[in-house]
Amino acid sequence: MKAKARNADIDISKEFTPEQLKKVDKIIEKFKDRPGALIPVLEEAQMVLEFLPMPILKIIAGGLNLPLSQVYGVVTFYSFFTMTPRGKYTVRVCLGTACYVRGGKAIYDNIKKELNVEEGETTDDRMFTLETVRCIGACGLGPVIFVNDNVHGRLKPAKIKDVLSKYN
């Protein structure tokens, strides 16, 4: 099975500063005995850490005395929460109908191959995070992708490499 966003082996002591981790402990402490603590804890922890990898979710589950499965269920339910770090650039590929029929799927597949990530994942060098979007109203330019706020339209699969290489 695909280990989607599992992030099991992330070393949180390298990834986050001791201050950040201490803040997370404080957040857990603050909400611990309140009913419905999970979502506010996740929210505040993500504000501190920017993303919530598996070891952090384990700390939160342990601290709130909840099964890890429940914490994971909530984190994956709300698209606001993310278990993967964000790259410097977010690549959004439009898969709305217009872009799709004009070859958006091929563009998307090509980018996946180029970056070696699946939807929602970030490249190992933390440069790119890949996402898909449904129609953003740039149909005339289809197929389009966004890299942060820049639009790249009328793309051909062969040109993907060029486009991405501009970002570094």
Partner: protein, 599 residues
């Protein structure tokens, strides 16, 4: 409280306030199809929408499983709008469902197939490609297989795992069209705290959760002329197997079971009950020893491997309370390749030991590295009751028409005390009968210890046992109930000397390998079958009366808790903890003992 009056399809119904339309309809014999709802689990997420009905004055259609009745309500369950909507709902469910019915494990036994039939689906107007098999199937556990492609997101498994078993392995994750039910981080089941109990299988309406199928390995052993294949069948199997062939629920089919196993080609047909009696002797003596020598009390039974794994994960601090006795299945396995090998003159390396269990956790137990006491894998293959049913069908055996046959000697003889191991309270009842007799030299006045019978979650009883004075015992089944008695121990407040814990609700009769479906009514009827065997069929009703067990001690074991018992019949446990992911090692390869060892 005054009743609420309503009409459903022109039939007048009066029900308690708060009743749902679905329950009210069932009361007057109107069938509304359902998929996600399980009233017994208290699980009505209102997710699948196949239970739609029309309520006069309401806009749109209503999910009857969650909608409460009101005074004067008028419900219609078969209008054209209802029929079309239900059919559409099922079509949508099927749109990303692999069309594999013909070779699916739930073929002819699937709730989705059934609603497709009931709603009259004849074509599929939508089809979305499904996940690849490789991505969807998790076969990491020796007990339970998950196939995400077939999941219809009813979440019954989530409820049973979290509420009934308090293990909380499975969770709905992601949402919208990418919703799946999975362990956290999509971990393979074997890397989670899963007990292998298979209760999730029993509630799954489709083929998304099922037992690891080991039938082919058993066929192979049976067809190998160099192998001597012995089989044991657990107590509960004799009141389950008939259901696989359409017999009334809870039919006691011991004689047909034996006949079928013989027809399949097993060389010796033995019974786990033989070692259930043995367990009582060993465990009873262990209890008395602990009481007399001030050992750790309360002592807790150890027959149920899902319970053991649960304890190792969640209550490792209570491991000293566990009886060191192996389960009857594993005692049998160890003896099959030592005692039986010796008296039959067959080289244990040529013996293949197979067991038929109502249980999926038994598959895991048989693979534990500790279970090599004979120098070989003590139990080679474990089949569930369902798998045996399939094997009998594959062999073309007409089960219902089989004439009764008898078990082989000597590991087929047993008492009624052993049979009731298959239901909650049974081990306790059997133990009390023998402990009482051993301590007082007399039989219990009434061998039926009724306070420990029945489906109540935690049962307690106090019995005056001669010089020991009053002995308090408790029985818990289902792991949520187990937690109740375990937390008492942790808090130092347990009033009990001896506790029976069974992993599954109802005990083994409701095990994860039982025929579909298992409901409370089914549990009661299977238990009644076992009590019938104990009360009216068996000559002996106390384990210490079993002539074959007496002989076993005479010629082989010598004494309870003795040297040989220690080596073959007792075991130890490991602290697994709850830290995920667990890295289990695969099944250990048993190192053959040096010649003469274990004798």
């Amino acid at each position: 409280m005054s009743l609420v009056n309503l009409t459903i399809d022109n039939i007048k119904v009066a029900v308690e306030p708060g009743t749902t339309i679905l329950e009210a309809a069932r009361k007057v014999g109107i069938t509304i199809p359902t998929l996600c709802a399980s009233t017994e689990l208290g699980h009505t997420p209102g997710a699948c929408r196949v239970c739609l009905v029309e309520v006069q004055g309401q806009r749109g259609l209503t999910a009857s499983c969650v909608f409460p009745v009101w005074e004067g309500m008028v419900v219609r369950t078969t209008t054209e709008a209802v029929r079309n909507a239900r059919r559409m709902v099922v079509e949508l469910l099927l749109s990303n469902h692999p069309a594999e019915c013909n070779y699916c494990i739930r073929n002819a036994n699937c709730e989705l197939q059934k609603v497709a039939e009931y709603t009259g689906v004849r074509e599929l107007r939508f089809a979305i490609p499904t996940m690849s098999k490789e991505d969807a199937i998790d076969e990491s556990s020796p007990s339970v297989v998950r196939d995400t492609r077939k999941c219809i997101n009813c979440h019954r498994c989530v409820t049973v795992c979290a509420q009934v078993q308090t293990v909380s392995v499975l969770t709905p994750s992601f949402r919208g069209s990418s919703t799946t039910v999975a362990p956290p981080f999509d971990l393979p089941l074997m890397e989670t705290n899963c007990t292998g109990c298979g209760q999730c299988i029993n509630v799954c309406p489709v083929g998304a959760l099922y037992e690891k199928d080991d039938i082919d390995k058993v066929w192979k052993a049976l067809q190998d002329p160099t192998k001597h294949v012995v089989v044991q069948a657990a107590p509960a199997v004799r009141v389950q197997l008939g259901e696989e062939f359409g017999m009334p629920v809870g039919s006691l089919v011991t004689g047909k079971l034996i006949a079928a196993l013989r027809k399949l080609g097993f060389h010796k047909v033995f019974d786990t009950n033989f070692t259930a009696d043995l367990t009582i002797i060993e465990e009873g003596n262990e209890l008395l020893k602990r009481v007399k020598e001030g050992g750790t009390l309360p002592m807790i039974t150890s027959c149920s491997p899902g319970w053991i794994k649960f304890c190792e994960h969640f209550y490792p601090d209570l491991i000293p309370h566990l009886s060191t006795c192996k389960s009857p299945q594993m005692m049998f396995g160890a003896l099959a390749k030592t005692y039986y090998a010796e008296i039959s003159g067959i080289d244990p390396k040529d013996i293949v030991s197979v067991s038929i269990m109502p249980c999926t956790a038994k598959k895991f137990e048989a693979q534990r590295p500790e279970m090599c006491s004979s120098g070989f894998r003590d139990v080679d293959y474990v089949l569930t009751t369902r798998e045996l049913g399939r094997m009998i069908k594959q062999a073309g055996i007409e089960f219902v028409g089989l004439a009764d046959e008898e078990y082989d000697a000597p590991m087929g003889e047993y008492t009624g005390a052993a049979t009731i191991f298959g239901t909650t309270g049974g081990v306790m009842e059997a133990a009390l009968r023998t402990v009482y007799a051993v301590v007082t030299g007399e039989n219990l006045g009434d061998l039926n210890v009724t306070p420990v019978r029945g489906l109540e979650g935690v049962k307690a009883a106090t019995l005056t046992v001669g010089d020991l004075g009053p002995v308090s015992v408790a029985v818990a089944h289902g792991l949520a109930n187990a937690r109740t008695v375990l937390d008492q121990i942790r808090e130092g407040k347990s009033p009990y000397a001896f506790i029976e814990v069974m992993c599954c609700a109802g005990g083994c009769i409701g095990g994860g390998g039982a025929p579909h479906p298992t409901t409370n009514d089914v549990r009661k009827r299977r238990a009644a079958g076992l009590y019938k065997d104990d009360g009216t069929v068996q000559k002996y009703r106390q384990s210490h009366e079993s002539p074959s067990v007496k002989k076993l001690y005479e010629v082989f074991l010598k004494e309870p808790l003795g040297h040989k018992s220690h080596k073959l019949l007792h075991t130890h446990y490991v602290n697994r903890g709850t830290e995920l992911p667990h890295k289990e090692k695969g099944p250990a390869v048993c190192k053959p003992a040096k010649k003469g060892a274990g004798h």
